[in-house]
């Protein structure tokens, strides 16, 4: 056998030993976690020079076994106070810090977070309360001032309940009535099996019972709905039950509601079902199915409670779908009337232009009367107390509805609102109302100069038409017109 030529052997050697080297290299390669735990401190310090690197910090925090004051301080330097980025990252730091050293997290972390990123406090208190080495009394003293106090106490209460820490229930007496009710409820939501003898107050007992029902609602929604039928807070119980049930088995949840047909709680159940469904899927995408489900429960038409739940969802997804649902309700019925009022109010707050078009459509319907020049209400309180059905009966939309719409529109998008009302064909009464809303401090808060500036951008014929209206309201704009462009470019 002839010997192998030198270069071939050399190449084989390179290849074989290269492979061996590769394997050894891979096996001894440091892991991502190891690398990041080494670099965690370094990178945060580098971040102090300006804006933080959110992705890098998230990855580093996920890799780090413990986090603490140094990381928190570095975050405060790198991110703007109160920003969402800071809140998300600071919450992670506080949670890991609480696990490692809850007392230090409470002593050093909580006051710093309260000053820079208070949003994380409820979650931080929940993490600290889970750690048994911190005395509950110390945690209690660290709760922030109201209105955040109640939220923090409730978050901690759930953790204490889960740990069956009964001593805190006695401490809850220090809280205001509202915070105390919430605290007791959350404690029992965490410890649904426990019945504490500490609770002697009747309202505390009621809060405890609601807490247990809410805990049951997420475990066994059907039982919670049955048991909670007579409860004052049934709507809350239904919301908790369907939030848990709908993602697991939506058809069963709707079927369960059918058992409540003719029961007065049915409307609350349907509203809770609609809200739970809207988290799972876009209702405007499945409108026919939603219509069928609702009409099966309410063959005579959806009650106001259901419409109040459904319309904001549809309108926030696709305004057209909300109108489509309204048009599916039988014309001339009280249900359709109440639904029109509810939809108008929602659009008025979220999409005033759509609300205006909707109101135009209502007065143009066959046999409809235009009530927009009349106000049948003695004041806003009376109008609000009347409810949707009575508002429809009293004549809808009325001048009060137009006033609310214009006020919202002027705050929301004055350029669009004013452009709509200076169109040819709009009555002088509406033009006058629009300009009044523009100058009202509770509407657009325009100064006379701003109004003059806007007027100067209009065609001369429109200016001539509007001049009497403006003169009546603010004494005219001639002589006040400033130079330069004034119209909002959209």
């Amino acid at each position: 056998m002839s010997p192998q030529p030198g270069p071939v052997v050399n190449l084989l050697l390179i290849a074989l030993l290269g492979l061996v080297g590769y394997l050894v290299g891979s096996l001894t390669k440091p892991t991502e976690r190891g690398r990041q735990s080494i670099s965690v401190q370094k990178s945060i310090v580098s971040a102090t020079s300006g804006a933080g690197d959110f992705g890098a910090d998230t990855r580093r925090f996920a890799a780090a076994a413990t986090l603490g004051l140094a990381e928190l301080e570095a975050l405060f330097l790198a991110y703007g106070a109160g920003s969402r980025d800071l809140a998300l990252l600071a919450a992670e730091v506080m949670e890991k810090w609480a696990v490692a050293d809850a007392l230090a997290a409470l002593r050093d972390g909580v006051p710093r977070c309260a000053a820079r990123v208070p949003e994380v406090l409820p979650r931080s208190f929940a993490a600290i309360a889970k750690q048994k080495q911190v005395p509950a009394a110390v945690v209690f003293k660290s709760f922030p001032i109201p209105p955040l106090r109640g939220e923090c106490a409730a978050a901690a209460a759930f953790a204490w309940g889960a740990g069956e820490n009964e001593e805190v229930l006695a401490m809850a007496r220090e809280l205001s009535r509202q915070d105390r009710t919430r605290f007791v409820r959350e404690w029992h939501r965490g410890a649904p099996e426990t019945s504490s003898p500490v609770l002697v107050d009747v309202d505390d007992r009621a809060a405890a019972s609601l807490g247990r029902l809410l805990a049951l609602a997420s475990k066994d929604p059907a039982s919670a709905l049955r048991s909670g039928r007579a409860h004052d807070e049934f709507a809350e119980i239904a919301a908790a039950a369907f939030t848990a049930w709908v993602p697991r088995d939506s058809p069963a949840a709707w079927k369960a509601a059918e058992a409540f047909t003719s029961h007065a709680r049915l409307a609350s159940m349907t509203a809770a079902l609609v809200r739970a469904e809207s988290r799972r899927r876009a209702l405007s995408d499945v409108l026919p199915e939603v219509q069928t489900l609702i009409s099966r429960l309410h063959p005579e038409g959806p009650p106001e409670e259901v419409l109040v739940a459904l319309f904001p969802i549809l309108a926030s997804e696709r305004t057209q779908q909300a109108l489509k649902y309204l048009n599916s309700l039988p014309r001339g019925t009280p249900v359709r009337g109440a639904a029109s009022v509810i939809l108008f109010d929602i659009l008025s707050a979220t999409d005033p232009a759509a609300a205006w078009r909707f109101s135009e459509g209502l007065v143009e319907e066959d046999g409809a009367k235009d009530h927009r020049a009349l106000n049948p209400w003695l004041g806003p309180e009376a109008q609000r107390a009347a409810g949707a059905a009575k508002r429809w009966e009293a004549g809808f939309p009325c001048a009060a509805d137009v006033a609310s719409l214009l006020g919202n529109w002027m705050r929301h998008d004055p350029a669009e609102a004013l452009a709509e009302f200076v169109r040819p064909g709009v009555s002088e009464a509406f033009q006058s109302a629009a300009i009044e809303a523009a100058v009202s401090p509770y509407g657009g808060a325009f100064s006379a100069e701003m109004l003059a500036k806007w007027m100067s951008t209009l065609p001369p014929s429109t200016q001539v038409n509007l001049e009497p209206v403006v003169t009546k309201l603010i004494g005219g704009t001639r002589g006040k017109t400033p130079q330069g462009p004034g119209s909002e470019k959209r």
Binding site: S26, A114, E317
Partner: protein, 614 residues
């Protein structure tokens, strides 16, 4: 013999070393990582089952560490696990935040690789709430890298609100890098009015250089730059009150000339309010001084925020004094601006009352009772709502004994009894006469209570009706109660109808009972029908029977019940109704291919009826 090359051995050793060195380096750089097994699995497209134990719960967090090494498939796998974790932990503390954190990290990487593909994946997420979060996370990350690209894709978002939110996210995420460029981009952004986007940009810009941002915003050719700048500064104040107050301290001249703050309710939450209160006390000396400053610096819109910050009892006095002192200058309620002002006033009153009731409900009620007219009603209602929710057992008794001569007292008692209607309508009915409410309100509460009782406890409604013959409940409530009763004890329901119903109501109510009875005890219902004398009651019940039988789709049952139904219809005394019922049943007999010989041979069938059948 071949001569040995003296360089051969060193060359071989060199080659060996070269191979080892490069191989090792390659392994360290490109080699797989033992801890990235999850990632490898995901790359193969396997979706792991939902983690159940605490140790496994960490997996998404663990895999987030290696997100920079992931390709699109691996990111899609991780996204699927984020969804599972999100759905599993729904409602738990921190779930929403954790999902946001993970999505931001995932989409930070995905935006680097393929932003359009990332958008497609975000929109394809089955869980609608998570999909919305994912879209917003993506647009935030995308705008940091390529704001123009993100803006161009806004129009592809299918939902109005997501488009609006995403446009704000883009503006805020793009602002820190180059606020001036972002300002120039705003006119191209759809989904939100320009003024709102400018306010969002301004809030972010002010963190970097407040004086410059303010100057630029006030010089912008928008319709109301003062409102825009006021909104921007108020948003900054809500997010970073210390930043605002510290800037004001260092730039007093600019700050004094800055526009009034316009706090929109949607930028406030308890955390921000608490932070504002603490910062104002710290920077301005005391909470009172802070409030005074806020009161002076704020536009009339958004006063509810002050109500939420102040000690409610004190602020209630200050606010009402101010409101009353401005009465002469106020436009009349009949004018549009007067209406808007009054509306805002009611909102502020509601906010003060709710805060007051949360701290000391009894004092809040006493305060509201002293208020006149609409203010009193608004305050009383708000106090009652909060108190009943916080103290559901002790509050009602206190609210029933309130001074009913005041608007607040009447409103509060009305709220209490309305609430009672839902949980214990019978008790609400008992309570109502004691309250001496306004007759119209009392009547409406009674109607609602009766309707509620008919569903919740029909037998109790029937008992109540028997005990109060002078009160006539709404017809729908009685029908609903009778139907509910018929599903358990039709005999008792019929007994009630016989003894309490007006003769003209008897047919309708008996029919309502029979309609339910037929669904669970057809034989019993037929026997009852046979006992009825001829007349309207029997006709109404027979009509219910025929309608139910005609609706039957099962051929076996149809063959049994339709002839029976036909025979019953023959006994109807109203000729038109009889013929209509006979025809309906006969048509159905033919449709279901049931033999019609027996029914056509029935002795009661007249020639006129036969003619109607054809």
């Amino acid at each position: 013999m071949q001569q040995k090359d003296p360089t051969a051995l060193p060359l071989r050793i060199l080659c060996a070393l070269l191979g080892l060195t490069f191989g090792f380096a390659g392994g360290r750089i490109y080699g797989p990582e033992n801890l990235l097994i999850d990632e490898v699995k995901t790359k193969r497209g396997t979706v792991r089952s939902l983690p159940e134990t605490a140790g496994q719960v960490e997996s998404v967090s663990q895999r987030i560490q290696s997100v920079l090494r992931m390709d699109r498939d691996a990111l899609a796998g991780l996204l699927a696990d984020v969804q599972k974790e999100y759905e599993r932990d729904a409602g738990m503390t921190g779930t929403e935040d954790r999902a946001d954190l993970h999505l931001r990290t995932i989409y930070g990487r995905w935006a680097d690789l393929d932003a359009l593909g990332a958008l497609k994946a975000a929109l394809a997420i089955k869980n609608h709430a998570l999909s919305r979060k994912a879209v917003l996370a993506l647009f935030g990350e995308w705008a940091k890298r390529d704001p123009s690209g993100a803006v161009q894709s806004l129009a592809t978002l299918p939902y109005v609100s997501t488009q609006g939110e995403a446009s704000r996210v883009i503006v805020r995420a793009g602002a820190p890098r180059d606020p001036v460029a972002m300002l120039a981009l705003i006119p191209k952004i759809s989904g939100n009015p320009r003024s709102l986007l400018m306010a969002a940009l301004g809030a972010e810009w002010m963190r970097l250089n407040a004086s410059h941002a303010l100057r630029r915003l006030l010089a912008e050719p928008v319709m109301n730059p003062v409102l825009v700048a006021g909104q921007a500064m108020a948003e900054w104040l809500a997010e970073d009150p210390r930043g605002v107050l510290s800037w004001r301290r260092g730039n007093q001249a600019v700050a004094e000339a800055s526009p009034p703050l316009v706090l929109r309710p949607e930028v406030l939450n308890p955390a921000r309010l608490t932070s504002m209160a603490a910062a104002m006390a710290e920077y301005l000396g005391s909470p009172e001084a802070g409030l005074e400053w806020l009161q002076k610096s704020m536009a009339p819109v958004g006063r509810e925020a002050i109500a939420a910050l102040a000690a409610p009892a004190d602020y209630a006095k200050i606010y009402l004094k101010e409101w009353q002192s401005g009465a002469e200058k106020r436009p009349p309620l009949s004018s549009l601006s007067g209406w808007l002002e009054r509306q805002r006033h009611m909102d502020v009153m509601g906010s003060i009352s709710s805060r007051f009731a949360a701290e000391d409900p009894a004092a809040a009620l006493a305060w509201s009772v002293a208020l006149p007219g609409d203010e009193g009603a608004a305050a009383g209602k708000a106090v009652a709502v909060v108190w009943l929710s916080d103290a559901p057992v002790s509050a009602p008794e206190k609210l029933y004994s309130v001074d009913l001569s005041s608007p607040a007292g009447r409103a509060a008692a009305g709220v209490a009894v309305s609430r009672l209607i839902r949980s214990d309508p019978a008790k609400a009915l008992e309570m109502l006469p004691r309250l001496k409410l306004d007759p119209a309100l009392s009547q409406s509460i009674q109607t609602r209570a009766l309707a509620q009782l008919s569903g919740a406890d029909p037998s109790r409604l029937l008992e109540w009706m028997a005990a109060h013959p002078e009160i006539k409940p709404p017809g729908e409530a009685v029908t609903a109660a009778l139907k509910a009763m018929a599903s358990e004890n039709p005999g008792r329901a019929l007994e009630h109808v016989r003894s309490h119903s007006a003769p003209e109501e008897l047919p309708k109510e008996s029919a309502a009972i029979l309609s339910v009875w037929l669904t669970w005890d057809r034989a019993g219902a037929i026997v009852f029908l046979s006992t009825l004398p001829d007349g309207p009651q029997r006709d109404a019940c027979t009509a219910v029977l025929t309608a139910a039988d005609v609706a039957m789709t099962d051929p076996y049952f149809a063959a049994n019940v339709l002839p029976e139904s036909f025979e019953a219809a023959l006994r109807m005394s109203d000729k038109a109704e009889r013929q209509a019922a006979l025809r309906n049943v006969f048509d159905r007999i033919k449709q279901m291919k049931v033999s019609d010989r027996s029914v056509l041979a029935l002795p009661g069938l007249t020639a006129e009826d036969r003619a109607a059948l054809n």
